[in-house]
Symmetry: C2
Subunit: 116 residues, 2 copies
DNA sequence: TTTATGCGCAACGTTTGGTTGCGCATTGGG
DNA sequence: CCCAATGCGCAACCAAACGTTGCGCATAAA
């Protein structure tokens, strides 16, 4: 129900800071560790490590530009991640609906036979 | 774009082990730390701590039954969590689509004016 | 050629997921 | 009634992850 690879993706996007970074990168198109850390309560180092994690799972890609290291979201990979999130969500939803349906069915059949 | 409360929910369901526990609880209806740990590569203690976390954010609820402590998923809360997952996923998707659209627009206007 | 900016590496503290080893309560069989 | 077995919580301990500070090095700008 969950492969090791998918777990890596999950733990990458499970961190709130990394989700914020993805949001910022999506909003501004691209950014460096320094520029991103400017708008966050984090040091450049922390941001840099997070970007390294996102890079390792392929959610962002770095293009060196002079002395800068400009990061950009890999759209295909992020789409994959978004699909996974939605999948888990709808899976839970489906199960909850099924449970609710069964519960109602039992309730109804009890009303027919018993008077509890 | 993300409240502290929501971050707690996220970090709760961000952990792979806790998602597995939720799956198991959904599948079997209810369970104790001991019964759940039996089917996992975890000690009872680890499971117990995870259940405590899930309990604190309200995703599961415990009902003492004799010397046992039976846990059950709080369906409303889980539905809320599922909605959040889906929300983030679709938010990213929407942004990606918008970006792609803009990119195509620029590309097209460049083809008209420049020959680069 | 200096100066300043951007980055990576290393050492360190703190939180979190996991383990083991207790002790305490409840339950069930002599 | 009592004693073994079962289920749980608490505390101590380890390892990995997130964050910090303090370097040093390279590249761009003065």
């Amino acid at each position: 129900m969950s492969t090791p690879v998918d777990d890596e993706l999950w733990s990458a996007i499970g961190d709130p800071t990394r989700r914020t970074l993805i949001d910022l990168l999506l909003a501004s198109g691209a950014g460096t560790a320094t520029s991103l850390s400017a708008g966050l309560p984090l040091t450049r180092q922390a941001v840099s490590k997070h970007l390294a994690v996102l890079d390792r799972v392929g959610l962002v890609r770095a293009e060196p530009a002079g002395r800068e290291r400009r990061y950009r979201v890999d759209e295909a990979q992020l789409a994959r991640a978004a699909a996974q999130l939605a999948a888990v969500g709808t899976s839970w939803d489906a199960r909850l609906r099924r449970i609710k349906h069964i519960a109602e069915t039992i309730e109804r059949s009890r009303d027919h036979t018993e008077g509890e």
